[in-house]
């Protein structure tokens, strides 16, 4: 099993992600640069966080139009597993691989803090080591994390088990007070209908080792490789 970590100009969580896969999970991994098109050797693709192309025009837009993303779209359509974290999530919505969009946080600020997430999905690849209702603590660090989708699509997503995480409190209650950025229905992470493309605003790669004070993110990586 080989991971690929996509690198765009302005990606800045690429090395953290690469490190977790190589040194913590002990899996094969390589960087894939934004102008590459041959990703045939890759089984799982990660789009890391950062500010690809400086977030110019809209976060994720310019990255979503690169040669690499054409290959990623093809990879996803063939059933390949793709996980976008933070800016990677923004890139996936801009590329049309995931529904909805990420808007500026409702308070107009960059938010950098730990949040609690409740697992919403019954059974998806990213969370198969967890069960519905479990609560994780993971960091968020974003300015544009307010998930938006229209009511009809949201309803379809709920029916298709596409909501992976909701922002919650420590006990798993998802109320307004636990919504850090104004996301529709407290949504922090989703997948496509087919269940092979995932997007999430929180950063599991920053919480995958005890030395960093938190290893809740490991459960997601272990799920992916199981």
């Amino acid at each position: 099993m080989k991971f690929g970590v996509c690198v765009f100009p302005g990606s800045n969580c690429d090395y953290d992600t690469y490190y977790v896969i190589r040194d913590v999970l002990e899996r094969d991994v390589r960087f894939i640069y934004h102008n590459e098109t041959n990703i045939k050797d890759i089984d799982i693709l990660i789009l890391p966080g950062g500010f690809s192309f400086g977030d110019y025009v809209r976060p994720g837009l310019l990255a979503s139009k690169t040669a690499l993303m054409d290959a990623v779209i093809d990879f996803a359509h063939k059933g390949g597993i793709v996980l976008g974290i933070c800016n990677g999530f923004q890139i996936l919505t801009e590329a049309g691989l995931l529904p909805g969009a990420l808007l500026p946080n409702v308070n107009g600020r960059f938010i950098c803090k730990d949040v609690y997430l409740r697992i919403e999905t019954k059974s998806r690849i990213l969370t198969n080591k967890l069960k519905r209702g479990d609560v994780l603590r993971l960091p968020i660090a974003h300015h544009d994390g307010r998930y938006y989708v229209d009511d009809k699509t949201l309803k379809d997503m709920e029916e298709n088990d596409q909501i992976i995480f909701r922002y919650a409190d420590k006990e798993g209650n998802t109320d307004n007070g636990s919504n850090p950025n104004g996301s529709v229905s407290n949504i922090a992470g989703i997948c496509n209908k087919e269940g092979n493309v995932f997007g999430m605003m929180p950063h599991p790669e920053r919480a995958s080792e005890d030395v960093l004070g938190n290893h809740d993110g490991l459960m997601l990586w272990y799920s992916l490789i199981s």
Partner: protein
Amino acid sequence: MKVRILIMPKEGLLDPQGRAVMELLTSKGYNIESAKVGKVIEMEVDDSVDIEEIAKKYLVNPLIESYKVEKE
């Protein structure tokens, strides 16, 4: 030919930048009913370039934005 694509947050969506501008101006005593912050992309192009296609395919996200094209 000079063209401009004016991109605005879609009607009904909260625009924190617009709200901040409105709060500033209201605090200075102006009677502001609403404020929105969008963006302008200005290009020099020849007549053969399909601006609508560029806007729709590359620059505007119709889920969250509306746009109009101005030509000089």
